[in-house]
């Protein structure tokens, strides 16, 4: 026992878990699809005439008002409330929402459930339309070169201080433009590489100004980007920040000497670390926020608690200040197994993050006992699993040549039996697909692209491989390299412990590719190592998913080589070329270049033209197969949802997307306890 290593213990455990998994999988295969309901959700009411004129509040806040400790509710909300029409009915106040989280790195957990969201603009429940949110409205000026942001009159921070245009000016001048706090300007604050500015017009109006038309700005404000509210404040982003609070930690306002003293007293290494800590939504309970719930006990303790913000600007159609639920309590789970088991035991009220699709049968079996219901929320992106070819791989010229041969990539894509993978790992709930997003996505190029190079056709694949010069095979039936150095052996890098079992699926693909004479080596690596390898251009094939790509322009990293820090890359040298506007790296091949150019161009053109460009981007991606799509539109990534039966206003299906901060897109502030 003692001599057995940690690794082998884990392996045994995983093997046993996998065996149990396969056994129950067979039972549940057909129940999966029936758990997918109709897409629905609450709506933002933008018509001022329909807004409630009088307001109600939670009983404990009313009590505080009576004691004179809080101003009246109408005064706290201001003149322009953000009105949300709940999905089914107006709810009632009270109760606690229990969930699980996995530690300080899991801050997205709270951003997604409880931040409101606090973006200036945000998506409607379909994830398609951009609606006003914290901002009352956006007004385009000067042909898209400037945007006026109208703020809500009388809106306040959670400490009761006014939220005004000064908070934008402070963020832009003193945080964003401070090289210590934000060393690299955001690409999202720029159009065609040229940075924009933010300026105050009057108390309730802000102007975003750019050197060239920036038609994409509303989407950028709505998406999970650098300009999207306090969720990104921990790295100095967000678009606005509570000036009145943060000035005490900024050298410009207190002086460097005084600040250094403060930093030392608070035991921080530098004032920058202290400032970013104080500006962290999940870590600092004192930080004034705009979100409907605010951190009460921080994320680096065993229980991350959030409680209602008395100055929340959100109200329902009856004038009740939202949220309905008083507190959100997220308890630390030491590992995902414990978290899943707690969900199965009914210890969570609404949990979506970290739930494992492979355990679906067990979730279903315990529904009655745990008093919960299971929902599936498939994503709208084309790949729960994708395989990226590193087009810049250069350690082995022979292999590099094949990765840059379109027919080689296409043949490999045709050699995958997606149905087998779907049944085994997705319990039949996914869709065999190329990389393109769901049919109803506005950038979907057309139905013929779903199955393009994404069906099983061993005969055709073999013919294509024969034709490009890989006809010779060895005794075992594997194809030989064209340079005479033996068998053509290619490698795929996978990561373990993810929502999708990449390694196991890759092993299955390895078996399937034997039929087309391709010898695949599966290498599971640890995350930091994967990152190092991709950055050093040592990766060949890489497995990952393309979640987020349903929002092509705000989340492009799995569409083309867009960022260096990736666990699977289509080409690190192309990334450098793209980010440096051609100064470094390697110029992409013509079609990839065309794809990149179209993507870039879309930011500066009106929506209609942009949609066409988006379609073109996906067309090229599907035709060229830079990335193989395996299974898509499945619920594997955060698409399994367990909700208590007596929770109200729960949508039967939600738009599942990182850009939509799901479940944020369903506005959890409207969830309530029926009894």
């Amino acid at each position: 026992m003692q001599t057995r290593t940690l690794r082998s213990k884990l392996t045994i455990g995983l093997t046993i878990a996998a065996l149990i998994g396969f056994a129950v999988a067979a039972v549940a295969q057909n129940t999966g699809k029936s758990l997918i309901g109709k897409l629905e959700g609450p709506e933002v009411v933008t018509d001022a005439a329909k807004a409630p004129k009088t307001f109600k509040e939670a009983p404990q806040l009313a009590e505080l008002v009576k004691q004179g400790k809080l101003p009246a509710v109408a005064e706290r909300i201001g003149q322009d409330p953000l009105v949300i029409k709940p999905l089914n009915e107006v709810g009632r106040y009270g109760g606690t929402w229990r969930g699980g989280f996995t530690g300080p790195a899991d801050f997205w957990n709270g951003f997604r459930c409880c931040q409101g969201p606090d973006h200036l603009m945000f998506w409607d429940y379909t994830g398609d339309r951009v609606m006003p949110n914290i901002a009352k409205g956006l007004e385009m000026q000067d042909g898209g070169r400037a945007w006026l942001v109208h703020l809500r009159r009388g809106m306040k921070w959670s400490d009761g201080k006014p939220f005004t245009a000064d908070d934008f000016a402070f963020w832009f001048e003193d945080i964003y433009r401070n090289k210590d706090l934000v060393p690299t300007p955001s690409a999202q604050m720029a159009i065609n590489g040229k940075q924009g500015v933010i300026e105050k017009v009057d108390t309730n109006t802000v102007r975003f100004k750019f050197p060239e038309p920036y038609f994409m700005l509303p989407d950028v404000l709505a998406g999970s980007t650098d300009l999207a509210g306090q969720g990104f404040a921990y790295r100095g982003m967000g678009g606005f920040a509570p000036a009145h609070y943060l000035k005490q930690f900024h050298p410009k306002y207190v002086g460097q000497a005084e600040l250094d003293k403060k930093t030392k007293e608070a035991k921080f290494d530098s004032w920058v670390r202290m400032f970013l800590f104080k500006n962290d939504w999940a870590l600092n309970p004192e930080l004034p926020v705009l979100s409907p719930w605010k951190t009460a006990t921080p994320i680096n303790t065993p229980t991350w608690t959030l409680e209602r913000n008395p100055y929340s600007v959100f109200v329902d159609t009856a004038g009740n200040q939202l949220p309905y639920i008083d507190r959100v309590v997220l308890t630390l789970a030491e590992n995902l197994e414990v978290l899943n088991l707690r969900a199965i035991a009914g210890e969570y009220d609404f949990q979506q993050r970290h739930l494992d699709l492979g355990k679906l049968p067990v979730f279903l079996e315990n529904q009655a006992k745990g008093n919960y219901k299971v929902y599936l929320d498939p994503g709208d992106y084309g790949g729960d699993m994708i395989i990226k070819f590193n087009l810049n791989y250069d350690a082995d010229p022979e292999i590099a040549k094949w990765y840059n041969t379109a027919d080689f990539r296409r043949a490999l894509a045709l050699g995958i039996d997606r149905d087998q993978i779907n049944e085994t790992f997705w319990l039949g709930t996914g869709t065999p697909s190329s990389v393109v997003p769901a049919d109803n996505n506005k950038y979907n190029p057309g139905p013929q692209y779903r199955k393009m190079w994404a069906t099983l056709d061993v005969k055709k694949a073999n013919e294509m491989l024969d034709k490009i010069g890989l006809a010779k095979k060895d005794a075992e039936g594997y194809r030989l390299r064209s340079d005479g150095k033996g068998r053509l052996r290619i490698e795929i890098m996978t990561l373990g412990g993810q929502f999708v079992q990449f390694t196991q699926i890759a092993e299955m693909i390895r078996e399937q590719w034997k039929k087309i004479g391709i010898d695949l080596v599966v290498q599971e690596v640890e995350r930091s190592l994967a990152l190092k390898r991709t950055a050093a251009n040592e990766q060949q094939l890489g497995a990952w998913n393309n979640d987020g790509s349903e929002h092509l322009f705000t989340f492009p990293l799995h569409v083309f080589p867009f960022e260096l820090a990736a666990v699977a890359s289509s080409g690190p040298l192309y990334v450098k070329w793209f980010l440096s506007a051609g100064a470094q790296g390697k110029e992409p091949e013509p079609r990839m270049r065309e794809l990149m150019d179209k993507w870039k161009k879309a930011f500066g053109v009106p929506e209609k033209e942009r949609i066409q460009l988006g379609k073109d981007v996906w067309k090229i991606a599907a035709e060229e197969v830079y990335i193989i799509g395996v299974i898509g539109m499945g619920p594997a990534s955060m698409g399994v949802r367990v909700v208590k039966n007596n929770m109200g206003n729960i949508p039967s299906r939600q738009y599942n997307s990182p850009d939509g901060k799901t479940p944020g897109i369903s506005r959890p502030i409207t969830f309530y306890w029926k009894n």
């Binding site: 026992m1 003692q2 057995r4 940690l6 213990k9 884990l10 045994i12 455990g13 046993i16 229990r98 530690g103 300080p104 790195a105 997205w108 210590d180 060393p183 690299t184 690409a187 999970s224 990104f232 790295r235 035991k267 290494d269 530098s270 920058v272 670390r273 800590f277 870590l283 680096n300 303790t301 065993p302 229980t303 308890t331 630390l332 789970a333 030491e334 590992n335 197994e337 414990v338 088991l341 707690r342 199965i344 035991a345 210890e347 640890e526 995350r527 930091s528 190592l529 994967a530 990152l531 190092k532 987020g548 989340f555 990293l557 960022e563 260096l564 820090a565 990736a566 666990v567 990182p658």
Partner: protein, 329 residues
């Protein structure tokens, strides 16, 4: 005797210092550093961390300096009772480890006590009644206990606890008492949660100790001094407990040294499975995210525990076995 203990204690201090250096060096071995793992984390959530930003972070955390400089800084801090700042938890290391350390000790000590309470009598019984039904049963159960991986047992017990007794899943406290200040209710709650982890952690050790006790005692039982004692008419219990058992206890004492750290580090997987808020899972996570000071401090603590354990077992050995005392002085 005092000189003996003094010498041992001095050696222990030197060992701890060597361990601290080793601990720090080992943590640097894997590729990348905390910033790399932070970038990976950001990337998986769709955020881009640029090279400049990463460089800035490295400067802020002091990761760019040579390893001996970092080590020296860490040592200086420890001198002031400050074990550094956990990069992932963004709190001082001492705070992060804080309560977890005491809970770890509680779990470890109860597992150790359980091991002894079970292993001693059973071991004696199976030696004295060799080849009886009781001996065979104990042997059978003992080998099963040795062979079953304890994390698997933990999974099974968790599942049974949930399906049959509706027990709370994982952890050492009920949800409502998780963050409560210490009170009798909370202590009682802890005691209620303790038996399962203690049993699981202690089981493999118990099986092992039963076998050792049995084998050692069997060696002693046939020796002339036992026969002499018996022939002089001493009652059977006294014959066995007074002499051969005392001799057979030696291995128990000498294993204290590595039992302590084993229960802490060997319990990582069990603690993970059971969701115990102990140091084990913290160490695993710190190693994965390359949270240097946190991982370093825990490894250092494990080292200190081993050293203290060895010291204790040295002293206990001297105490129970006069022969060692004589050899040494």
């Amino acid at each position: 005797m005092l000189a003996y203990i003094g010498r041992r204690a001095l050696l222990a201090v030197f060992t701890v210092w060597a361990i601290s250096m080793l601990a720090f060096a080992i943590i640097q071995l894997p590729p990348g550093d905390y910033v790399t793992s932070y970038i990976a984390q950001m990337a998986s959530m769709g955020s881009v961390v640029t090279d400049e930003e990463a460089q800035n972070l490295r400067i802020q955390y002091g990761l760019g300096q040579p390893i001996y400089v970092q080590y020296w800084k860490w040592m200086k801090q420890i001198g002031d009772g400050n074990f550094g700042f956990s990069m992932e938890w963004r709190r001082p290391v001492t705070e992060v480890i804080g309560e977890r350390l005491w809970l770890t000790v509680v779990v470890a000590v109860s597992a150790l006590l359980l091991t002894w309470v079970l292993a001693l009598p059973i071991g004696i019984y199976s030696a004295v009644r060799q080849y009886s039904i009781g001996d065979y049963t104990a042997t059978f159960v003992g080998f099963i206990g040795l062979a079953v991986p304890n994390f698997l047992l933990a999974l099974v017990l968790l599942y049974l606890g949930f399906t049959m007794f509706n027990a709370h899943i994982g952890g050492l406290f009920s949800p409502e008492l998780q963050d409560a200040p210490w009170s009798w209710a909370r202590v009682w709650d802890l005691l209620k949660h303790l038996p399962i982890p203690a049993l699981i952690l202690g089981l493999a050790g118990t099986a092992q100790q039963i076998r050792i006790m049995r084998a050692n005692l069997l060696d002693e039982l046939g020796k002339p001094y036992v026969v002499t004692a018996r022939s002089k008419g001493l009652p059977e219990t006294r014959v066995i407990v007074k002499y051969p058992v005392r001799m057979a206890l030696n291995p128990f004492a000498s294993t204290i040294g590595y039992t302590l750290p084993y229960i802490v580090s060997g319990s990582i997987i069990v603690s993970l499975v059971l969701g115990l808020p102990t140091v084990g899972p913290l160490l695993l996570r710190a190693l994965i995210s390359q949270d240097m000071f946190l991982a370093g401090t825990i490894v250092l603590l494990l080292g200190i525990m081993t050293v203290i354990g060895t010291l204790i077992s040295d002293i206990v050995l001297v105490w129970i076995d006069p022969r060692i005392r004589l050899e040494d002085t």
